[in-house]
Symmetry: C2
Subunit: 642 residues, 2 copies
Amino acid sequence: MSGFAARPLLSRLLRGLTHPQVNPARLLSLARPVLSFKDVSSYSLRSHTCGELRAVHAGEDVKLCGWVQFQRKQLFVTLRDSYGVIQLVLPQDKNHADIKQMLAHLPTESVVCVQGVVQLRPIGEANKTMCTGDVEVAVSKVEMVNKSKTLPFQIRDFFQVNEHLRLKHRYLDLRGSQLQHNLRLRSQVIMKMREFLINTHGFVDVETPTLFRRTPGGAREFVVPSREKGKFFCLPQSPQQFKQLLMVGGVDRYFQIAKCYRDEDLRQDRQPEFTQVDVEMSFVDQRGVEQLIEELLQHAWPDGKGTLNLPFPRMPYKDAMEKYGSDKPDTRFGMELHDVSDIMRSSGVTVFERLLKDSPGNSVQAVNVKQAALHMKNKDVEKLQESSKQTQPKVSYQHGFKGLSVLSVLPGGEVKGPMAKHIGAPCRNALLQELQAEEGDMLLLAGGEHLKTCELLGRIRIECANILETFGVQLRDQDVFNFLWITDFPLFLPKEDGSGWESAHHPFTSPHPDDTDLVFSHPYKVRSQHYDLVLNGSEIAGGSIRIHDAELQRYILEEVLKEDAAVLHHLLEALQSGCPPHGGIAIGLDRLMAILCKAASIRDVIAFPKSHAGHDPMSGAPSPLTDAELQPFHVRVQPESS
Amino acid sequence: MSGFAARPLLSRLLRGLTHPQVNPARLLSLARPVLSFKDVSSYSLRSHTCGELRAVHAGEDVKLCGWVQFQRKQLFVTLRDSYGVIQLVLPQDKNHADIKQMLAHLPTESVVCVQGVVQLRPIGEANKTMCTGDVEVAVSKVEMVNKSKTLPFQIRDFFQVNEHLRLKHRYLDLRGSQLQHNLRLRSQVIMKMREFLINTHGFVDVETPTLFRRTPGGAREFVVPSREKGKFFCLPQSPQQFKQLLMVGGVDRYFQIAKCYRDEDLRQDRQPEFTQVDVEMSFVDQRGVEQLIEELLQHAWPDGKGTLNLPFPRMPYKDAMEKYGSDKPDTRFGMELHDVSDIMRSSGVTVFERLLKDSPGNSVQAVNVKQAALHMKNKDVEKLQESSKQTQPKVSYQHGFKGLSVLSVLPGGEVKGPMAKHIGAPCRNALLQELQAEEGDMLLLAGGEHLKTCELLGRIRIECANILETFGVQLRDQDVFNFLWITDFPLFLPKEDGSGWESAHHPFTSPHPDDTDLVFSHPYKVRSQHYDLVLNGSEIAGGSIRIHDAELQRYILEEVLKEDAAVLHHLLEALQSGCPPHGGIAIGLDRLMAILCKAASIRDVIAFPKSHAGHDPMSGAPSPLTDAELQPFHVRVQPESS
């Protein structure tokens, strides 16, 4: 096989034969062709890839390496590599019986290297569904490189295989075209981001440590015992502190494709290690960061996915909550929330009247699920009801009112549903008008604490879309990419147990410049300079302008959040040492790629993901260690009794 | 400050003013200027960087952000940002007394944003030592952004500061020009590597997991307790298994700038987390990988560091050991080893005569340290003697012969030294001739087991170079970059305790194709397809062609290495599933950058390194955790008694 020498790039280039997607005519027009496309056979034992052969190669002697995909009548073998498939023609003369014998009987997925001449297929036998369907290769030499055993599943059928088996044999799953596409696209998108950030805008790619000190409130951090007894590193959830310290250190345009760690519930399609595009800049304001990210995404956006129109729309957090019941609204479809408090205040529906009277902080919200009455069955509505009960107790549920009020709109503006008989005509008509309801629509109402009620209906809105799509009503086009900035988040939120305040995002987020004074008087009123970027209902990026004033940072940590500022001593000292104003953002790369690849899970855009349960079914990680193996770290597994 | 709007790139471009290193004339000649240099002020509050202003900017109103570096006579302030320094002229009129007052009295390292007009300096006042020395900025507005406290050390003098203090305040150390240069160069070199691998040669950047299963023999792996009682992840020392599995999975050209972990002795300038450029290819042979790496380094080589001549020279392991006493020889200087066994066999020097008679596996080696007798003092020679005694017992030391034999060459070919009176004239003359010795040279001899003796003298050779350089004899030019491939390593080495064999590198290394049969009969004779790349005496890359045959892999694991193959079950199964032939390499990026940056330690090319002791003096990592914090992981610190 060592005779399969790599051909020099330039000569292949001049002949315009190298890359299947390069049109030779276009090639000649390129000023600097060497860098403009990829030579995927350089340094290797093949002369060409299986996917690149065309009529123009007819007559050439080629060397190909790949997997036996398919054998037909001892005449043909389909050879596959990562770039496509080609039909091999087996020699039928006696002198080459060994070649025929080997290739016709090797188990599929065996690896071979072949040599042969490219020839046009006989007239009428071209396969128009194959990129290489005009040609075939008449094999003159073959080397069996590795015989495959029978595999646990066929590479071609892998989508029907259960995920555990796919993860256990991930190396086979990776051969499938979907994962090949996803991983290659991921690499390309990241590269385009790097070109934009480094080559065009002078950002510096800096690696930050992953063995770090535990951060305050880092409840989901993995711990790593050191060889010093009783001392531990932690795997950080993000490079947040380091990127701020880089700003203090004058690395004023930083980015990193950063591995981050979070020891958390994996059911929501998360991974214990994940990747973010981490960016930070000095001397920047909120709009500067947003604009950078918009243009970064526009630059890195893959071909065939449309073009991105800039700037992306923006929406304050409060509006998003009131219109969509979510801080990451999917704006590809309507079904917005309507505040119907005024209508329901004297509606005859006691539970709504009472809760509106109870507190000015309560409201009644409604959603019109267009044409849902035509599709949804009783069991769908029951599912929505069930789901609405799983919400927080501050919604109407606590008032003895169980879940959603459902009204179906009948011909002539009549309504049907448990609440229908209580509701007066003026109220009913006002409701129909506010919601622009027509026959066949389904109106869903809920009441209670304002934001919680919005959240409940926001969740129900998504569930309705899920249900309707199972009936073939397409609400969310996977080819549409709706970006949206969410801004003006609250800086602090009340703690779940009501004992005080916690940061809505993290304690380094700067207050809105107009609200700085309120930090000291009315912290719950303070808006932050945090911004999220939402794509089709998923939060794909989040960032903020950071606090660069040491005193403000100390006040927030100690006086508002009641945290021990001592463990952040190094950061506070850094802020006092000539810290520039700065801000940044992190893009969740796995999620972004999953949306771009139309993947059901981020596991489909990661080469070796962990399972739902956080395991690696392939290697068996995590695995038990013996006391002896733990000895150097001075830890042991807790005894059963404790 | 929000009035400091970013200026559009294009208009700045057309004016050719953006980047300090871009000559406007050259700019106009560029076909696609937008991607050809960096716009480091885009999206930011500044209009220009401090370092880019030139006479051509005279008359322009500019906005600058930076650190107060130096104040002079209430007339001038030097403002610094990450791109250079500029002289600010303070207004002297009463209307702007506040500006003068503020800028003249701010503590140095405070952060300010200023606005003003660029003006040519008065004739005769230009500062030719400053890039911006032809101009100054007359300040019309200033905003004090962040007042600095007095810093623990001056940014300008940081080289004299002890390393602990520098690491404790790493964010200040980073402001210094040396670390700024090193981190920015590192980012650029990596980017050029990516362009070569991805854009030119179609490699795919794939992230592999860092939470993995413990590997056999992974004694230096960090462990990470999971939330499943008694089960642990490990942080892998390299993506070795994953990259091989990617080859099985058809990702036939993989690379990754990979974070790796090794819990090891840091005294030898290592770090618990380090970075390697990790590459793997299918359908490749050894020379293919070597050629790829040669051209990769040539492409990524920084400007101003000379050009690399390809191919790099190659040397078999055995020759390197016999010529330089090292498998990573520094070929920038001579002082090679000479085998003087034949000369010493009947020399009259009993100890040498005896050990040569004892065993055919013993030899006597000599080095001529040119002109050392003119420089080295007794204490230097004693130091060498001391050091030679710390070597393995198989060297002559065990024969009662304490350390090195030293002979100084006197005028007329006489020699001086403890051995001189025993040595006969024919032997002495033969020795002088073999070593081309002249007056003033110092000859060092040692004997014992052949390779151990070579190793000892190899180490002494480097120590001699270290000593001579303290006397100003320059042997190793830091501007010379001597690359060398070391090949034909042994595949197996005897274990230290003599109990069997271990892999010289790792168990996945393929035997040399000529030696495959010897694996089953004489494993100690087998050469491997491992290759190291050495630069100026440091191993900066290592790789191999891997085993792709499951049966050979199983035989080596079970029969030669006597390891439990069960924990590598997934890999063995993958090899049976149509694994292509493959090979790869990993470049130690930290070490490569340290050599390129002429840094004394890899800590100087890492943004936030750990100290010698493995600590982060800034954050205090690693740090104690409470039992409650360890509870979720079901581990506790071992009690004192155990």
